[in-house]
Each structure stands twice: as C-alpha cells, then as structure tokens.
C-alpha cells in the first residue's frame, strides 16, 4: 500500500534528517518510534507531502507521491503535532472549511465526526477557545473528513489527559482495522497496545521494523532485576544501563538493561516494550 524506497531528506549540506529509509506498510496501526530529533516528524511530513524527499521514492498504491502528490492527498488524513485554530471561527465552520478544501460534499459527515470525537455539543463554540484536548479531537475529526485510507498522526496524545489519551488510542485502534494509521511518537505506551508494527528510528535511520512481540522476544535475556545495597548502587550504575531504580529501606531495587548478567544475584525478567526498545538501543553501544 505505502512503500518507501531509500528515502533521504537533507537540509543544507550537513544535516541529514532522514537517511535511506525503506519501508512497506499495509493497513493497520504502525507506531513510528524514536527520540526527539530521530527524524520521525520529517518522515511523516514527507509521507504527508508537506515536503519532498531529497532522494528516494514514496509510492502509494503504486503511484509516485513525489511526482503526483495529489494521488495521496485525496486519500490522506493528517494531524500534525502542533496546530491551532482560526480566530473567530466556530468548530462547525472549521470543519466545513476543511470539508470544502477536501471536496467532501456530505454535510452529515461533519456532524457524525463531531459526534465521534464528542464535540457535537460544542460545534457552535469558537474553536480558538477550546482546551488542548478538545482542539486535538477537532483535529482528528478534520483528519477523518475525507474517510482517508491513510491516516498520519504526529505525537497524537501530547497534552491530553489520561482519559482523553485512552479514548484517542481506542479511536486510532478502531481506524486501524481497515486503514493504514501511522502514529509518530516517542512515548511507547501510546502505541504498545494498538500498533501491530513498530518502526524504530534513530539519528535519521530506520533501525528496526517489526511486531511488538518480535521486539520483546529479542530483548528477553537482556533485561534484569536486581536488589543492591544503596552504597553499591552508585558504583553499579556507572557500568550498566539502569532502566528503573526504586529505593526501599537501605536497598535499591533495579531493572537493568545488559547483554549479560550485570551483577551478582541479578535475575532475567520479562521486559516491557519500552524496556525492550531501550535494551536494544543500548545493545548497539550508542550514547544515550
């Protein structure tokens, strides 16, 4: 469905934001994971046709997105990381405007989408007065206006409270049953329960693209539990990657990422997805 072939994006002569990324994505939820500055947003912007790759090809159902960007735009829903609202424009007018820009002729769809994101009772309110969570819900409603086949959402849960986060995740998971939903985030918990595939980026490169189960399986035996005395802790953390440290009395309970037994008495444990990703990151011996 969506194919990226050796996609590279450079800014000037010295900054390479995305380097030789190749991917093939089918309908489902894909989590694009990486630290800040890993190149996620640039990659998303290229998929959303906001910026063109410096080299490489992006194909959507076989059509070259760079040469014919409208081929994907008609079937694209895009929710950027940061966005606002026009002044003196209600949520309903905001939706009508984007519906007109996308050529969506069914006025009932606007109502349905406002109901879907639970904003129908605020349709007549100025969108600029919305809270962060309400604005983000309006943004997702806008992204769904043209019933997109591919939905690109960048850091979708930033600024949302826990309840809204959950609702948002569920909404994206539902959409992922039939559509390609690409979620860019550096918060692993946003995607671990909904993504069928994780694409992991580091320093502009795609370092892994696999299912969460496969990533967890690879990390087994690399995450350890240990309990050490408080005075041993300082010495230990200089030599291993501590994922978690919890003081209890005079001892410190640790979870550690390490390819071999990190300290006497350490026991291998079941990693969480976040720990698995960290363990694999440390395994390639790059600075944290």
């Amino acid at each position: 469905m969506l194919e990226l072939h050796d996609v590279t994006k450079t800014f000037g002569k010295h900054v390479t934001a995305v380097a030789n990324v190749s991917l093939r994505l089918e309908p489902g939820v894909v989590g694009l994971i990486g630290h800040n500055g890993a190149g996620k947003t640039t990659l998303m912007q290229m998929i959303a046709t906001l910026t063109a790759p410096s080299s490489g090809r992006i194909l959507f159902d076989g059509a070259d997105v760079v040469a014919r960007p409208d081929a994907i735009r008609r079937r694209l829903g895009f929710l950027p990381q940061d966005f606002g609202a026009y002044r003196n424009v209600t949520a309903l007018e905001f939706m009508r405007y984007f519906a007109a820009l996308k050529g969506v002729r069914d006025p009932a769809r606007i109502r349905r989408l406002l109901e879907l994101v639970n904003l129908h009772e605020h349709a007549g309110r100025m969108a600029s007065t919305f809270s962060g969570g309400m604005l983000r819900r309006l943004g997702i409603a806008q992204a769904l206006l043209n019933d997109p086949d591919i939905l690109v959402v960048d850091e979708p849960t930033a600024g949302l409270d826990p309840e809204e986060r959950l609702r948002f995740r569920n909404l994206l998971a539902d959409l992922g049953f039939h559509k390609l939903v690409i979620i860019s985030t550096h918060i692993v918990s946003d995607v671990e329960s909904v993504a069928g595939q994780l694409a992991i980026m580091r320093a502009g490169r795609l370092v892994a693209c696999d299912t969460p189960d496969a990533i967890l399986a690879r990390a087994r035996g690399q995450v350890w539990e240990a309990s050490v005395a408080a005075d041993e802790y300082d010495a230990l953390r200089a030599t291993v990657h501590v994922l978690q440290a919890l003081r209890q009395g005079g001892r410190v309970n640790l979870r550690i990422a390490h390819p071999t037994v990190p300290t006497a008495g350490a026991q291998p444990c079941e990693p969480s997805l976040e720990e698995a990703l960290m363990a694999q990151r440390y395994a390639v011996k790059e600075p944290a």
Partner: protein, 533 residues
C-alpha cells in the same frame, strides 16, 4: 550565566541596565532576522532612489519657485529626512508591532510573566530594542542616500551634516514610533487589528496636522510635531520661501538659477525644540508602563479574551448570526472542483470569521444599486479600504493560526494554497466593488477598469508580501500608506490606483495590472522556495 552575574563581571553596569541591554539586543536581533525587515530594506532602497530624483530627468528633490536646490549634503540630508519622517513612523510601527502577540502564541509570554523581572524592565527593554531596530533601518536608509549622493550629488559628501540632520529630525520620530509600538503591544485592547487601524488614524492625523503646524507660526508647534517636518520647514524658512517650495519628485525650470542651501541649517533653538519633541515622544512609553498586561491570562490570551476587547470583534459578536449565511457557500465550495472550490472555501471562511463584512457587503450592494454615480466613487474607496484590511491577513492566516501544515496536506498542497488565497482575495474584492465597477462602467469605463485592476494589483501585492515577509502587517502598512497617498495626490495617472480621482488612463490600468502579475510571480517563486510541495 544570569544577567545579574554577568552584570557583576561588568562593574560599570547596574543589573537592571544590563538586563535592559540584553533584552534590547535580543529584540533588535530577532527583528533584524525577519523576512519583513529584508522587504522593508528593499522598499527603503527603492523609495530613496525614486524620491531623490535624477535632475537629468527634469525632477528634483527640492524646488523653490521653480528653481532647483542643488544636491549638497544639506539638501540631501534635509530632503531625505523629510521623506523618511513621513514613511518611517508608519512602516516602522508595523514592523515593530506584534512581538508580544508572538510571545503569547509561543508560550514565552507565560514564562516572562512568571519571571522575577519587573514589568518596567521588560517594557523598557522591548522599547530599547525597537529603537535600536529602527535606528538600524534609518542607518541603512542614510547609507542608501549617501550612495545616491555620490551618484547624483552636486557637492562633497559631508557625513556630519547628514548625521546632525538625521539625529535631530529622525531621532524623536524613532523614539515616538517605538513608544507607540510598545504601548500598542503592552495594552491588551490595542493588541489586535483595531490597534493597527487606530495607529494609522494617529499617523494620518499627524500628517494632516502638518499644514496647520506650518501655517500657524511654526515655532509654537515645533515641539508637538514629533515627525520633525515642522522643524525642517523652520530650518528652511530662514533661507528659502517655503510657501513656493516643493518637496519630493518636484518639477523645476532648468532656465532658473539653482539655489544652494548653507551647510549649517540648524540653530540652537531648533535643536532645543527637537529635544523637547524627543521628551514628548516618550509619553506613550510612560503610558505603557502601568498599562502593561504582563501576559496575565485575565487580560490577554490567544482567542476569546483578546477578541472580546477589540471593538471590531464586539461588532462581529453581535452580528455572529449572519455567519450562518456562509453555510451555502461552504456547501457550494465542496461541490466545485479544484482551485475554484478551494478559493470559494477561503472566501466563505473569511466571511464566517468576520460577520461585519457580510453585513457591509449587503449594504454596499444596496447602496451601489441606488446611489448616483458621483457618490459611487467615495463608496468604492471605502469598500477598497475595508477590503484591503479584511484580506491583509488572508495569505498568512494559516501560519498565524498554526495550521500551515494541516492546510498544506489537502489536495493542491501549499503551492495551490498561494493561488487559491489570492483568488479568494480577488473574489472578495469583486464582491465589494463589482457592482460599483459595473455602474461606473456606464459613465467612465477607464475608471471602472482602474477599480478592477487596482483590486487585482492590491490582492496580488497582499499575497506576495504576506508570503515573502510572513506577516500581514507589511502589506497592511504599505496598503494604508498607498491609499493615503493615492487619495491625497490629485494628479498623475499612476497615483490613481483605483480610479478615485478619475485620472487613471489605459496605460496606468495596464501598468497596475502588470505590477499585479509581477507580484504574483514573485510570490509564487517565494512560495515554491519555502514549501516545495
């Protein structure tokens, strides 16, 4: 290192002054790096070369009773300062304006508000930054004039003569402009478009009062005239007959012997008056200190709280039910294919956001149908003025609302957005002036064509300047200035951009159309550079 600790390493600096210096330096740098500064600089260079005419073409900077005044340093400094003192208070204000709005949008305002720094230090720091920025622009202007002098001058370049004139004439003007920009940003009710318009009224009133100042015996009015024009006239009055003097692109009689101004035009008394003007120019700054909102959410925040305070927003609030009229427009826009539908969507959004425009549109159509043809001309002027203000932020609307990326991911992308927003501006212009133009066409076809070509050219300039400078204020300042000049200059086909005086010719109509096309092409090029999609 904190400003306090840095100040400690410079014993001569009190920490407060060190903070103000740091803030001012930052402000000046932020403003100098903007695209709008580059546009302003190019405009300054172009205007200075245009206004300081080449005598070989039959025009001169200053003419007295038909005799040319030679291009000595005194003439060039005084003449160019007179032009600058008209342009800079308007353009400079709009260039300085809006930094606190940016702070609000970026969230930096909350950080500043929560800091331990006093409001006075912050406001004064911003003002100093504004002064430094305008001084830099004036410096660039002076450099341009010096080059012009080297090419067209009649005598040696005397930098001290320039410096003295610029400091005395433009110094108080810079202080006043920066003070007003600071006040209009610091006091919440003046932060929006209403403040922009109010300042234009202040500037127009200052310009309008100049003849009264000059005719009223000069000296008493000199300290009140922060622009310095009165003091220029007073300085010249001792040497030439200012009643027969023309300033700007003046015609002269080559047969008459040219005049020469003495190098020293400024008396101690005039200099004293300018110092008084400089002190008066600080009044808006003094008002800004107690009125500063300090980014308190109770007084300013992006959105409703600020909108409520704007008189135009209050009127729009009353007329809000009218915005329902835009629903069929949105529906029609969704059905029209390609750029036509998207441009109509932009029209609908503009009207939905400003219901007062809808009300005015209905009234204008009615008036245009029933009024006599002679009354249609001032009506057209009013319509163009309102339309220009309405569409000034159309090209930057997505960027201002942080919706640039969202709006570029729709069919057509960012490249088409430039064209559809220009088309929307033109459609809105025709909605306001179309019926008037049709009525005028039966009486004076050239005037009607001038109105339409003027709307086209102004719409293109709004799109280009919005795109190139990234702010609506560049166009707004130039538009209001051009409108003011166009209304007040009753001669010349070129100055009659929208056919107000009936001086437009087929050549001027064609010329303004070409200007519009060139602006569109330049804007398209600029747009492609920013967003390749």
């Amino acid at each position: 290192m904190s400003p306090t600790s840095q100040a400690a390493s410079h014993p001569a600096w009190h920490p407060v002054f060190f903070t103000i210096r740091t803030l001012a330096g930052l402000e000046a740098r932020v403003r100098l790096r903007r695209h709008s500064t580059l546009v302003a600089l190019l405009a300054v260079v172009a205007l200075s070369w245009l206004m300081i005419a080449d005598p070989a073409d039959g025009h001169t900077l200053i003419a007295v009773h038909g005799a040319r005044v030679l291009y000595t340093s005194a003439t060039m400094a005084l003449g160019s300062a007179a032009l600058a003192t008209v342009l800079f208070p308007l353009g400079g204000f709009y260039l300085l304006r809006g930094r606190m709005g940016e702070d609000l949008r970026s969230g930096a305002g909350a950080v500043i508000g929560a800091s331990t720094q006093g409001g006075t230090v912050f406001v004064v720091g911003r003002w100093c930054g504004g002064v430094a920025y305008l001084a830099a622009l004036v410096g660039a202007f002076m450099a341009t004039v010096l080059v012009c002098h080297a090419v067209r001058g009649d005598g040696p370049i005397e930098p001290l003569v320039y410096l003295q004139t610029y400091v005395l004439v433009l110094g108080p003007m810079i202080l006043f402009t920066a003070s007003c920009a600071t006040l209009f940003d610091a006091w919440a009710p003046l932060m929006g478009k209403a403040g922009d318009l109010l300042y234009f009224v202040v500037w127009a009133a200052l310009m309008g009062a100049l003849p009264a100042f000059v005719e009223g015996g000069l000296t008493a009015a000199i300290p009140l005239d922060v622009t310095g024009m009165t003091s220029i006239m007073a300085a010249l009055a001792g040497h030439v007959d200012i009643r027969t003097m023309m300033l700007g692109i003046a015609d002269f009689d080559a047969a008459k012997a040219p005049l020469t101004l003495p190098p020293q035009l400024w008396t101690a008394a005039l200099a004293g008056y300018r110092v008084l003007s400089a002190l008066l120019a600080l009044v808006p700054l003094l008002l800004a200190l107690p009125l500063f909102h300090r980014f308190s959410p109770d007084r300013v925040k992006p959105g409703k709280a600020r909108a409520r305070r704007s008189p135009l927003a209050v009127v729009d609030g009353w007329l809000r039910p009218l915005s329902r009229l835009t629903a069929p427009l949105f529906a029609l826009a969704a059905r029209l294919p390609g750029i036509a539908g998207q441009a109509l969507a932009d029209v609908a959004l503009t009207l939905a956001a400003a219901p007062s425009a809808l009300a005015l549109l209905l009234l204008v159509q009615l008036a245009a149908l029933v009024l006599d043809a002679p009354v249609l001309v001032p009506l057209a002027l009013g319509c163009v003025a309102y339309w220009g203000i309405l569409v000034s932020d159309l090209p930057t609307r997505d960027r201002d609302a942080a919706l640039a990326a969202m709006g570029a991911a729709v069919p057509g992308g960012a490249a088409r957005r430039y064209w559809r927003q220009f088309a929307a501006a033109c459609v809105l212009g025709l909605m306001f002036t179309g019926v008037i133009a049709l009525r005028l066409a039966s009486v004076d076809a050239t005037r009607a064509l001038a109105l339409v070509s003027g709307v086209f050219a102004l719409g293109a300039c709004a799109s280009f300047l919005g795109r190139a400078s990234g702010t609506a204020r560049t166009f707004l300042a130039l538009f209001l200035f051009a409108l003011y000049i166009s209304v007040n200059i009753g001669r010349g086909a070129w100055a009659d951009v929208i056919g107000f005086h009936g001086n437009a010719t087929a050549g001027s109509v064609l010329g303004w159309t070409v200007v519009g096309v060139l602006a569109l092409v330049a804007g398209h090029w600029s747009n492609r550079r920013i967003l390749p999609a």
